[in-house]
């Protein structure tokens, strides 16, 4: 519904007059986003201004409506303002609550005995008041769409309605009865698009005067603005609920995913008492190294670097499932043939993981975790940064753990020796950047060989 917007920023008082005129001429809404700032001009002296003080208040309020996050706060403000400024016996707002399938009284004010207690009453959808508004029959009674008690009474006294429109007459009777129940003199609908969001109920003016056309026009405007704000708040609330739901689902699925990976990792570890806790430690080291690598451009190549790293580390040895026990647990040096069997584990691992679409990145990292920086590793002899970043990290962490723990074929070495070994092989077996990061993490106390007992899933 169109309204004339002021071309220049008018004075606050001019604006009020303009607004009142608009409200009188049109029972329409106005654009709440239109900027109507006072420019500080001298106010025009007009005898009726004081009378419309409350309108200035509501006007200001309607511009800030959009900022109300909760529709209830907005409703409270409207009810309070009307109660304070308009001097009516009572005021109430009913809002549609989808889960209760009815309009619930959510705020009210008024004199003793007339104030309708908050939460005490509801109007169901087939209530004649509600259906008059939602069916837009209220427009048959008044072009403003407001149900005014006087109009209803006038309609009931109109012989023409009684004789020619018996349906409307019956409807008016039902509406009168409903207005009597809550002693309403005005019921103002609040629509968003075609939906009736709520109803503003006003009793009579304490001084007994009728509501003026300006006031009625203003209520319509106010209701339209409130509808906008309420609808916005509802949309945001719904959206927030959907987002939370999706987040919850994601977190749950993700937890299952991580725990499945941990279970698989535990299955690998369980086969080999010597490497017990190996996967857990390697994962911890990898995450400590990752912390030092934060901000390097390569990290950004991953959609979710930390998670891919964690899962890859957990599953890096999953291919050992395909390596015979007697080779895996052999005491003493492996024959070249046996070593070839061992080497297959990284390919087997990636083959196991590759059918899982979500783990395609992980499969790649697992395949290359035995590559060497100088190209002398296996299975593909990749070189330098052609080796995926996560594979390079796992390579260092994996080596450090194998040096610092007992193996069937060798005794463990001290940590200092292990660090010296990493430094010695930096640039040949290992990426020097990763080795530096590892040493840095060590200095900070983030690398300890005692495997943490707590779950490293989350």
């Amino acid at each position: 519904m169109p309204t004339d917007k002021p071309k220049k920023a008018p004075s606050w008082d001019k604006l009020q007059n303009l607004f009142v005129e608009n409200s009188m001429n049109r029972a329409g809404g106005k654009d709440p986003s239109s900027d109507r700032k006072a420019s500080g001009e001298k106010p025009e002296t007009d005898g009726s201004l004081a009378k419309y003080d409350y309108q200035a208040f509501l006007e200001k309020a309607s511009r800030t409506m959009i900022r109300f996050k909760k529709p209830e706060h907005l409703i409270k403000m409207i009810v309070r303002t009307i109660d304070e400024q308009l001097k009516v016996t009572h005021t109430a707002v009913l809002l549609f609550k989808a889960h209760k399938h009815s309009y619930i009284l959510i705020d009210s004010k008024g004199s003793r005995g007339l104030k309708i207690p908050i939460g005490f009453i509801k109007l169901v959808a087939d209530n004649p008041l509600i259906s008059a508004f939602s069916g837009k029959q209220s427009y048959l009674i008044s072009e403003t769409g407001i149900l005014r008690y006087d109009d209803v009474i006038a309609g009931l006294r109109n012989r023409e309605i009684l004789e020619r429109q018996p349906d409307l007459y019956d409807k008016l009777l039902l509406i009168k009865k409903q207005m009597d129940l809550i002693k309403a003199r005005l019921c103002i609908p609040c629509y968003f698009k075609r939906d009736l969001l709520g109803i503003l109920v006003l009793g009579e003016k304490i001084n007994g005067e009728n509501f003026s056309r300006e006031e009625m026009g203003f209520f319509v405007t106010l209701a339209n603005d409130a509808a906008m704000a309420i609808a916005n708040a509802m949309l945001i609330e719904n959206l927030q609920m959907k987002i939370d739901e999706i987040k919850d689902n994601y977190v749950r699925e993700h937890r299952i995913f991580i725990h499945t990976s941990i279970a698989m990792a535990a299955a690998i570890d369980a086969r080999d008492p010597y490497t017990h806790g190996h996967t857990e430690r390697v994962t911890t080291y990898c995450l400590a190294v990752a912390k030092e690598l934060e901000g390097i451009p390569e990290v950004n190549h991953y959609k979710n670097f930390r998670e891919t790293l964690q899962i890859s580390a957990l599953l890096h040895d999953i291919g050992k499932i395909g390596v015979p026990d007697h080779i895996l647990n052999k005491h003493g040096k492996l024959t070249p043939e046996e070593f070839e069997e061992i080497k297959k584990h990284s390919i087997i691992g990636s083959t196991i993981l590759s059918p899982i679409k979500e783990l395609s990145d992980v499969a790649k990292e697992v395949r290359h975790h035995q590559e060497c920086y100088d190209g002398s590793g296996y299975p593909d002899g990749l070189k330098g940064t052609n080796i995926p970043l996560i594979s390079r990290i796992i390579a260092v962490a994996d080596a450090f753990d194998s040096i610092t723990t007992d193996r069937p074929y060798k005794k463990k070495k001290r940590m200092e020796d292990a660090l010296a070994e990493l430094k010695r092989c930096s640039g040949t077996q290992f990426d020097p950047v990763i080795v530096s990061a590892f040493l840095l993490a060590f200095e900070k106390g983030n690398i300890t060989t005692v495997s943490p007992q707590k779950s490293f899933g989350q």
Binding site: G119, F120, I121, K122, L181
Partner: protein, 118 residues
């Protein structure tokens, strides 16, 4: 003139319901709690009591027992925000004639009271 007693620990509800039924030609008193209600009932027998279940101090169920001890013929309509079937069942067993759930439909409140006072 038929007499109604409204018992609710919310002042607004007492005032509103009192005014509502006074305008419909009843003599209405209000009590903010079970003890007040029993004192009023002993002094001046109402024909019908509108009794809130959930109240501070003596709750509606306890008050109902006492009311029925004083006079079994007083009609009691329970008003409650609880949708707990257990409490309702207990109130029925103790002799409440009907119950209304809050938020309520005013026609229904009016109708229930009229029907029971006919």
């Amino acid at each position: 003139m038929k007499k109604i007693l409204i018992v609710d620990d919310e002042t607004d509800i007492c005032n509103f319901v009192q005014n509502f039924f006074q305008e419909r030609g009843y003599e209405v008193t209000a009590a903010l709690g079970g003890d007040d209600a029993l004192a009023i009932i002993k002094k001046d027998r109402p024909d019908l009591v509108l009794l809130d279940i959930k109240m501070k101090g003596m709750d509606g169920i306890a008050a109902l027992k006492h009311i029925k001890d004083i006079d079994r013929t007083i009609k009691v309509v329970m008003v409650t925000a609880l949708e707990e079937q257990e409490k309702m069942d207990e109130a029925c067993r103790l002799g409440a004639c009907e119950y209304i759930t809050k938020p309520l439909v005013l026609d229904q409140l009016e109708h229930t009271v009229e029907k029971n006072l006919r």
